[in-house]
Symmetry: C2
Subunit: 192 residues, 2 copies
């Protein structure tokens, strides 16, 4: 384990991710967060502007990672199935690498304040559109069975996004096993 000594800022961030995830953003107080870090509440404000600032950093960092992962999906790949599998793997990989933070991303984003909230929603829509495009083109091409694209995209995201919750149950599964099994199930469902 290459666990470098964390800066106070990193420590606050990491603890916030854990607590926001475990107990919910609204239910976690600054004093509780500070105590877990080992400092007093006002000291947090030397590193973050506000409680919301913390949430913002966590959420947008994950958003960033999702986009970067999606950019690595080969644009020239002809097979919709292969393209979809790559997108699914990338998506799950981001979650697996950021279990606490992605939990916050999925469950606590609504506590973001404007204008961040609007920006967040826009980013998310933009990202989801990438998946919908792959599915839509796959259907037109005949790789995928014709179905309600929006509903299918929604369902696939629901399945993928829940994986952050998988590690709590103590399942001893590798990231690849999880990604493959889920991708297999969903892709077989999609295929023509």
């Amino acid at each position: 384990m290459a666990t470098a000594t964390l800066t106070t800022r990193q420590n606050i961030r990491q603890t916030a991710q854990k607590l926001f995830r475990e107990r919910g953003y609204a239910a976690v107080g600054m004093r509780e967060l500070a105590k877990e870090v080992g400092i007093e509440a006002p000291s947090i404000y030397n590193h973050y502007k506000s409680k919301d600032d913390l949430l913002r950093e966590i959420c947008f960092d994950i958003a960033d990672q999702f986009f970067k992962a999606s950019e690595e999906v080969d644009v020239n790949e002809k097979s919709a199935t292969k393209k979809m599998r790559a997108a699914i793997k990338g998506h799950i990989s981001v979650i697996a690498k950021n279990i606490e933070a992605s939990g916050v991303f999925f469950q606590e984003w609504m506590f973001l304040e404007e204008p961040d909230l609007a920006k967040f929603k826009k980013l998310r829509q933009e990202y989801e559109l990438k998946f919908r495009d792959i599915i839509e083109k796959g259907m037109k091409k005949g790789d995928f069975k014709p179905m309600n694209v929006k509903l299918v995209t929604f369902t696939i995201f629901s399945a993928l996004n829940a994986t952050y919750d998988l590690y709590r149950t103590g399942e001893k599964l590798s990231q690849d096993e999880i990604a493959d099994e889920i991708a297999n199930l969903l892709l077989k469902g999609l295929k023509n």
Copy 2:
């Protein structure tokens, strides 16, 4: 619209479902809830013992409905596919009939206080076991492809449980269309 005049108690309950769902249990105050109902905060306590009491009623009512729906799945049905489809339809039907409340059920249950929290978890596990059993037997029988049962069950529940969130997006889909499309996708993925 057969909207009968609601009692104050029903009004509180319905408003709580809406607010807890929209803004989260911890973020909704009793004064805000009361204001939306059109009364003062202390008046709520003439109908409910506590804030948690409200959450408890909402969550356990939905739990009840899930169980009742699952009891209507034909035990003598031989085909695992047909049995699974019936279970999926029943599950989605409960969500569709209780969009706000099921949202609370899925997202806010962790704010239940002991011993209700433990009871809730137990019920949920018991219910999920019913689905896992169908899937497991379906695999042994050869109707379903052999896969990691726990992971597959988890994935299917993730897809089903997210449907409460589908109605926000303004999709003009009937409950049956949604249930059929999702069941088709997942069952095709399961099948051998």
